[in-house]
Amino acid sequence: MEDIFQGYKGKALDVLKKFNVRVWGKVVIETTRGEFQGTVLPRAENDDDTHIVLKIATGYNIGIDIFTIKSMKEVGYYKATYKIPEKEFPYTPNLPKVKLLGTGGTIASRLDYRTGAVIPAFSPGELYGAVPELANICNLTTEKLFAVFSENMGPEQYKALAIAIGKEIENGVDGIIIGHGTDTLSHTAAALTFMVQNSPIPIVLVGSQRSSDRPSSDAALNLMHAAYTAGHSDIAEVMVCMFGPTSDEYGFLHRGTRVRKMHSSYRSTFRTISDTPLATVNLKDGVRPIKDVYNHRRKDRNVKILPYFEEKVSIVYYYPNMKPDIIDSLVDNGYRGIIIAGTGLGHVNKPLYPAIERATKRGVHMFMTVQTLWGYAHMYVYDTGRDLMAKGIIPAENMLPETAYIKLGWVLGQTDDPKEVKRLMLTPINDEITPREPYNGYLIYQGGVPEVEEFIRKFRK
């Protein structure tokens, strides 16, 4: 049966029942603060139980305090049904075939404001209705694999995605787009880099930092950039395609293993760490490579799908005064791999040593990355580093902590042999470890410096 009191609970629910009023009922409410008229809207589940929400004639919403209500009368009923209009996605000969795989997240969803529920705008028709420009870029088909928020993406989804990508490549598409929430977009990008190797076509992960229901959303432009990249670019790699500057100008294509979300809310949040992005993309200039070495698009379909993942892997972010029981409890709980994000060049303090030795004896694989994100773990520089290596920790060079976590899970899904684990971890698949860090790989300019300010004024951030 349909819930006629959507979201209302406790006292507010009692009041609705007492006056025989439903959600979507048009009501006249007499209160100690005067008369109010409007349509009763559903209430968000987490809000209190002492107010009733009305949409008034001018389109605004207001809340009525139930303790001020003297009487309430339902004088009509109108249930709004929310639907995204669909238009058939037109087929254009000679345009590339692109497949969009949906996982949930803001690029492929619209919020139902009234209920807070996510309504995915996903079918090609819906996407065409919202972003008609897509039809000039490619012939798009879509498939919804999951509907989960970014933070709920995990090994099961990585594996399912990898397999689905393998099938699409076999079916002959020219490029793949994966719609994804942004919070763990880079984790998925790393996982797919390891699980889908030697792809003949571009695999582009894309999201949005501002939901597609707002006029200034980055979703449409990101999607167009991703579609262009998937359909036309020569770069056959797993990439993240998101805003370059915060302005609506161009997108970056980041290598899936070196990219990281660096701001909680900026549009230009994704940055390549310790290297430059692969390329820029916009509809005017197309894809313009920044790096000159990358995997090129091929006609064959010889992709390798390696959908493995060991879930008992963890990441430990070291802090001063960390106690050994943190490591102990992971070992005691059966964890098989630990990535440590150490300080500086890759350090932890002495009190942890016994716990580390114990973990090594129990066969737990440990790799060292750096909290500084930029730069390499250099464990020969200080004694501490040498001590740690002697106790079994292997420096993971300049692999990002999250990438190292994903890679260790993937490696341990295939082998438990320490030598093989080490070999696989330290043999880069696509730049998760780079042999050298270019000078422009680390650029965080500080605001306030006159030259920087001059630059910012001329070129958009």
Partner: protein, 665 residues
């Protein structure tokens, strides 16, 4: 309109303009009576925007009220606004229009006034409670029914004036009212909202804004369309402005208060004139808008008579090479040389329409030209025709183009020009607006001009542009909190009017006194025992004049005037002295009052001392006056004049006068 054989032959657009102006019964505002407004069914209402005086902006912690020059910026951000679907799955008309214009929006950001919130790179912080409280006080003053819980809503704006593409706004009260002199005006609602960007320029496809004002707290008071004459509209606008200011917690100065007015005539449509910064402009603007609508209805009538089935109406167009066709029109030639495309149009049945009166000095051509500028982004001049009032097509041109277009006598021949990319939109825009002429008055927002006329600004947005803000939680308004606010409200404005009348303060001072919120000051001074009429006139006339001509010291506040009167009382001076002291304390509020007396050369004198030279002065007068038959009054007045300055503050001038009189007569 005279019948003729060929388009443009022997047609005088100026005469047609005058004839149509007469035909619709246009009357200038000065000559209009209430009856005229009843005849055309004048109806209007207001949306009054008022900035609140807070330290910070509404949804972030940037300082409010700090402004910078157009070129004083640290960074630029570019955005393109896309229409989003409404809750009902429709695109808003305004949204589509804005999308058609393909504008590149540039924001100039100054780090002192703008953070990542304003440019939509950070979600909102909790609402500024100081602003909310001021807005609630004003809501209570307007007798609104206060909501139980405030819900922040997103109201879409695609013109780029807000980088998010929507304004965060929330209703605080519904259904209030204000009492004017002769009637009550109902109020629909009051909302608190964030102010928009200030536009720097809008040329072609590039619109530039600065973000200093963006996000400042603002309230909007919306009235029912209860104003039936332009004067009532003005009165209501003044009332709301005075009410807002009576709290002492709102901003004043340029741009701090702006109003939109909704106007319609009988059979017309609600048209919104946006951003009128002076209340005194409202009557002329609303008057002209009402007659513009009346004129558009007349045009509709003419067109429907010529073609009762407007659905099938289409125009014809042809791109021309002005040199190949030997075009004479100098403006068109100039633009062609600049690389613009030139397109000739035949508008069937539109003979006599393009020069039809719409507003003083404007005709239907302006309706087309304004839209070409706004929607197709082609700068003016962008159109001409054989009916143009300023630069019409010559008869030669008209004849040539008419034959190219195979036009018939009922057609009007027009010419437009613009960059190649903008021509398709331009053609669509003209055809669309011409079709609308068969329907009457399009729903628009219009921009006011100082001459009292208006320009098309955009299509009036529909109701479907409101969405709950999913980034903010609702804010409950407890009963106890509302009661606390209610207890400290200032006096109602209509009560203030009555008080001023009772205090016998001249009516011509009322507007100024209320605008500056000076009645509480008058009350304090009168409570010290000074005559109300004098105090009212001092503040309403003398102070007003001083404010108009002298620079105000930053530390001057109206309370200093109360202190001045306290000083006068304590020192047993006569209050007339305040007129001379006021300009000094206005410029030097930190000066102690004794020094003020010194600076105006005041000397304390007794009545005897003042009257001592009277006999001497009477003799003196006789000496210097040549006329023999001087009336005694003249002697009294002259002596009074000689003594007045030194007597000021020492003795009541009326007493002095009667003493001199008794000596002379």
């Amino acid at each position: 309109m005279a019948k003729k054989q060929e388009p443009g032959k022997h047609f005088d657009p100026h005469k047609n303009y005058r004839d149509t102006q007469k035909a619709i019964g246009y009357v200038s505002r000065a000559e209009t009576t209430r009856k005229d407004y009843e005849r055309i069914g004048f109806k209007s209402g207001l949306e009054v925007h008022q900035q609140l005086k807070t330290k910070q902006k509404l949804f972030c912690r940037c300082p409010a009220g700090l402004f910078h020059a157009d070129n004083d910026y640290h960074a630029e951000i570019i955005r393109h606004m896309r229409p989003t679907l409404s809750e009902m799955g429709e695109y808003d008309g305004t949204a589509l229009m804005e999308f058609k214009t393909r504008k590149e929006i540039v924001y100039r950001i100054n780090n002192k006034t703008t953070c990542t919130y304003e440019i939509d790179d950070t979600p909102p912080f909790p609402i500024n409670r100081e602003a909310l409280e001021i807005a609630l006080e004003i809501s209570l003053l307007c007798k609104f029914n206060i909501v139980g819980e405030v819900h922040i809503t997103r109201k879409q704006y695609l013109d780029g004036s807000i980088p998010t593409g929507f304004q965060r706004t929330a209703i605080l009260g519904v259904e209030g009212g204000i009492q004017l002199k002769n009637k009550k005006i109902g109020l629909i609602q009051l909302s608190i909202e964030e102010d928009a960007c200030r536009e720097i320029s809008d040329i072609g496809h590039r619109r530039i804004y600065k973000t200093d004002r963006l996000g400042m707290p603002l309230i909007e008071t919306v009235t029912h369309p209860h104003c039936l004459t332009p004067d009532e509209l003005r009165e209501a606008a003044d009332y709301i402005r005075f009410l807002n200011r009576s709290t002492g917690k709102v901003r004043t100065g340029i741009g701090a208060a702006r109003q939109d007015t909704n106007v319609s005539c009988e059979g017309g449509t609600r048209v919104e004139i946006k951003g009128v910064s002076h209340n005194k402009w409202l009557p002329e603007l609303s008057h002209n808008e009402c007659f513009r609508q009346w004129a558009l209805l007349h045009i509709r009538e003419i067109l429907l008579k010529r073609n009762p089935l407007p659905d099938k109406w289409t125009m014809r167009h042809i791109e021309i090479d002005p040199f190949a066709t030997n075009l004479e029109h100098p403006v068109a030639l100039k633009f062609f040389e600049m690389g613009y495309r030139i397109v000739a149009l035949a508008l069937p049945l539109f003979h006599g329409i393009l020069s039809h009166f719409t507003q003083p000095g404007k005709c239907f051509t302006n309706e087309l030209s304004d839209r070409l500028k706004v929607i197709a982004c082609i700068e003016r001049p962008n159109i001409t025709s054989n009916e143009d009032l300023e630069m019409p097509l010559s008869e030669n041109d008209t004849t040539k183009l008419a034959s190219l277009l195979k036009a018939s006598p009922d057609d009007t021949i027009a010419l437009i020009w613009g960059p190649a990319d903008d021509i398709p939109t331009a053609l669509e825009t003209i055809e669309e607006r011409c079709r609308m002429a068969f329907e009457g008055v399009p729903r628009e927002t219009r921009r006011p001009l100082p001459d009292g006329t208006t320009l098309f600004e955009r299509v009036l947005p529909g109701a479907d542009r409101m969405y709950p803000d999913t980034d903010s939680a609702p804010i409950p308004l407890e009963e106890a909190y509302i009661e606390k606010l209610r207890d400290r409200l200032p006096t109602d404005i209509w009560v203030r009017y009555q008080q001023l009348a009772q205090l016998q303060i001249p009516e011509d001072t009322h507007a100024f006194l209320l605008r500056r919120n000076l009645v509480p000051i008058i009350e304090e001074i009168v409570a010290l025992g000074f005559p109300s009429r004098f105090v009212g006139t001092l503040l309403g006339h003398t102070l007003k004049r001083i404010e108009g001509i002298l620079p105000r010291h930053i530390n001057f506040s109206y309370n200093r005037i109360v202190e001045l009167f306290r000083f006068i009382k304590e020192n047993n001076l006569h209050h007339a002295l305040s007129k001379v002291m006021l300009p000094v304390i206005y410029q030097h509020p930190n000066m102690d009052f004794n020094s003020v007396l010194t600076s105006i050369n005041f000397k304390r004198k007794t009545e005897e001392e003042l009257l001592a030279p009277v006999d001497y002065l009477i003799e003196k007068f006789k000496e210097i006056k040549i006329a023999k038959k001087d009336k005694p009054e003249n002697v009294v007045n002259w002596v009074m004049g000689q003594l007045q300055r030194q007597a000021l503050g020492n003795i009541d001038p009326a007493v002095l006068f009667s003493k001199i009189k008794s000596k002379v007569m």
